[in-house]
């Protein structure tokens, strides 16, 4: 599973992406966030602000109860500020 981070999440983590293999009981975004938070202090710091973090699965914006699959590309980011 590929995880991508943008904006301040990337800055805080010091990385823009990582490949992970969560266990079978990690079924949706919410589970994934909890699981990732336990990976490192930096991860915990990022996901403490999870209310202001948005998520996309394979380029589709989703909410946190959305199911995840092993081959998904999952992105975490703050609200968009282009234009």
């Amino acid at each position: 599973m590929k995880i991508i981070y943008f904006s301040w999440l990337k800055e805080t983590l010091g990385t823009s992406e990582e490949n992970v293999r969560p266990p079978a009981n990690i079924k949706n975004i919410d589970n994934l966030i909890k699981w990732l938070s336990a990976k490192s202090t930096k991860h915990r710091k990022v996901f403490l602000k999870s209310k202001s973090i948005r998520c996309a699965i394979n380029h589709q914006i989703v909410n946190k109860s959305s199911k995840i699959k092993n081959k998904d590309e999952i992105a975490f980011f703050p609200p968009f500020t282009g234009g």
Binding site: S7, T81, G83
Partner: protein, 146 residues
């Protein structure tokens, strides 16, 4: 036509494409990097995007507005990377038979880009990097069904 690019936008070239067709009205929007914000001088901004998803979201809005407002043509270009104050960031051009449609479509596209396209803006000030926050006002403005 949509483009997500690093280099400056050549506005007159894009306008020429819009004016080629047999239309009655062209509306343009050009977003420009400002030299300062409320907290001080901005040396440059940096725009990050999500390659793949960005193009997809912009393409979606192009298809939607072209149909909804019966456009003859529509051009959307958004830059990423480092952008200096005074440089263009985004260009939206709409061509239609009548002005109301060209105006509505153009304004809708830029409103949409602000909140629905995966871009993130960072302002580089003297000693700090500011991750620009989205505006509630902008998020409320955009309502789409497609």
């Amino acid at each position: 036509m949509i483009k997500v690019q690093k280099q400056k936008i050549n506005i007159s070239e894009e306008n020429k494409k819009l004016l080629k067709k047999k239309i009655g009205a062209v509306v343009n929007f050009i977003g420009v990097a400002r030299p300062k914000n409320s907290s001080g001088k901005i040396h440059y901004i940096e725009i990050e995007h999500y390659p793949g998803m960005t193009e997809k979201k912009i393409k979606e809005i192009e298809v939607y507005v072209t149909k909804k407002w019966k456009l003859n043509n529509c051009i959307i270009i958004h830059r990423y990377g480092k952008i200096k104050p005074g440089e263009n960031i985004v260009y939206v051009g709409t061509a239609a038979q009548h002005r109301n449609n060209a105006f509505k479509a153009c304004e809708f596209i830029i409103d949409y880009l602000k909140v629905k396209a995966p871009f993130w803006k960072i302002e580089q000030q003297k000693n700090k990097k500011i991750f620009v926050k989205s505006k509630k006002k902008d998020e409320k403005k955009i309502k789409i069904n497609y």
